[in-house]
Amino acid sequence: MMVMKDEKFIHVHDLHKRLGRQEVLRGFDLEVASGETVVILGRSGGGKSVFLKHIIGLMKPNSGEVFVDGQDVVKLSERQLAEVRKKVGILFQSAALFDSMSVEQNIAFPLHELGLKDRKEIDRKVAEALEMVDLAGEQKKMPENLSGGMRKRVGLARAIVGAPRCILYDEPTTGLDPIVADSINRLIRRLQKRLGVTSIVVTHDMKSAFHVADRIAYLHEGRIYFKGTPDELKAADDPLIQDFINGHSGEID
């Protein structure tokens, strides 16, 4: 598939979100082109996950606009959102597998919702998705018998099985061993290259960020503080960014 860099798949403008007394997002702006992978970096609790949830309308902003494929998500009702949500897959931080269903049923779930009926076709797609995340043959296991890393990969398989045009990754490599993390990074890359999938990756894993990103956005105090390519980020002489990249807390011993 052709990668069209000029077409904006996601457009977020001046997003504000208050949770309780805390203002988590304070004028968040971001544009993501079709086929592009944008990594959002930032400290834990800085509103990265909250932002992701706004893209598919799981959260509604206090003000601001979110356009996905030309549709204003903020104005859509929960039932109208179903169409937008079928174009966008999401990997939750906790994987959020349905714990009453087996691995196979979890991954087949989006296919049933897309209206697929053919049993063989579904089995084939499930097997394919499991292979992509290095879990071939694990169809019958229940989520409670999986390790954290395996759950995340099943969650990823569920997110990609319906062939969405865009995938949102919430901390895809957090809590995984370096080897599995690397295979997840490669998978994100592969999905982008082969299928032209648009991706937003939220993480604080620097290695992962530099591996997968076309562009990196640094989130600080509810706003995008810095935007640029991985090389531009590395070269930035801003102390805030350098501290984050190098993992300095700023405290003096």
Binding site: I56, L58, G89, I90, F92, S94, A96, L97, D99
Partner: protein
């Protein structure tokens, strides 16, 4: 101070009631605009209907038995032994059957619904459903609602039937009331109006249990404490709602299905 305290409680009651009504409207809307998920419905019938039978049977049997025994002790002094069957049957249908079924099922099924949906809420499974384009009310509430509406009247009927049988056993077998008189009086004073009243109450209690429990689950707060509170509150609010509404239902249904004087 007092006014503020009362005011706060009134506001929280009104907003709770509003949320509950929203869920009711949402569920009714869902029945019309979304396809019904029959597989989930059958699973729920198995869970809330079929598997609640043991609890309901035991409750019905011992309530009918003790009610027959107590009535006998009182009526025996007046030499009205043979009226025991009629008293047991009418009370089982009009009050005891539906209310006890409601309370037991609220404890068993309502708690489970609130706990299950609450756990799904805090583990992001409900968000996952939404993210996959599935509206949680369609998927979680409507199948439970339909299963309860089907099951509850049947469970009430079962509870009453077993209670009447147990009453017969206590009255006729244990207390030596002549069986023919026992049954004859019972049939004379019990009519379809009593059965209709039992089933109507069962239907209303089913609605109360489902909506209150699902609402508690869908609005569960984060963390173990939040998930733990959801079933507790579902059972407390559900039981109170059943007992309070039962009084008004009795008054209302008495007009619709009057107690016969014959």
């Amino acid at each position: 101070m007092l006014i503020r305290y009362i005011g706060r409680n009134v506001i929280s009651f009104v907003s709770y009631f509003g949320e509950l009504m929203m869920l009711v409207f949402d569920s009714i809307l869902s029945l019309f605009v979304a396809p019904i998920r029959w597989r989930l419905f059958l699973e729920q019938v198995l869970e809330v209907g079929f598997r609640s039978q043991l609890v309901v049977i035991v409750t019905g049997a011992f309530t009918g038995a003790v009610f027959a025994a107590q009535t006998y002790f009182q009526f025996h002094r007046l030499e009205m032994d043979s009226a025991v069957g009629a008293v047991v049957a009418v009370s089982m249908f009009r009050e005891l059957g539906p209310v006890l079924m409601g309370l037991m099922v609220s404890g068993r099924v309502g708690a489970a619904m609130a706990a299950e949906i609450g756990t799904m809420k805090v583990t992001e499974q409900i968000d996952a459903l939404r993210a996959l384009g599935v509206y949680p009310v369609d998927y979680l509430v409507v199948p439970r609602l339909l299963a309860m509406v089907l099951s509850a009247p049947l469970l009430v009927a079962e509870c009453c039937g077993i209670g009447i049988l147990a009453g017969y056993f206590v009255g006729v077998v244990m207390m030596d009331i002549p069986g023919a008189y026992y049954v004859d009086y019972m049939m004379k004073f019990t009519g379809t109006r009593d059965v209709k009243m039992a089933l109507s109450k069962g239907f209303v209690f089913a609605l109360l249990i489902v909506f209150i429990s699902c609402h508690q689950g869908l609005n569960a707060r984060e963390g173990a404490v939040g998930v733990g509170r959801a079933p507790t509150e579902a059972v407390v609010i559900g039981s109170l709602a059943i007992l309070i509404s039962n009084f008004f239902l009795s008054l209302l249904l008495n007009v619709i299905f009057p107690l016969s004087t014959s």
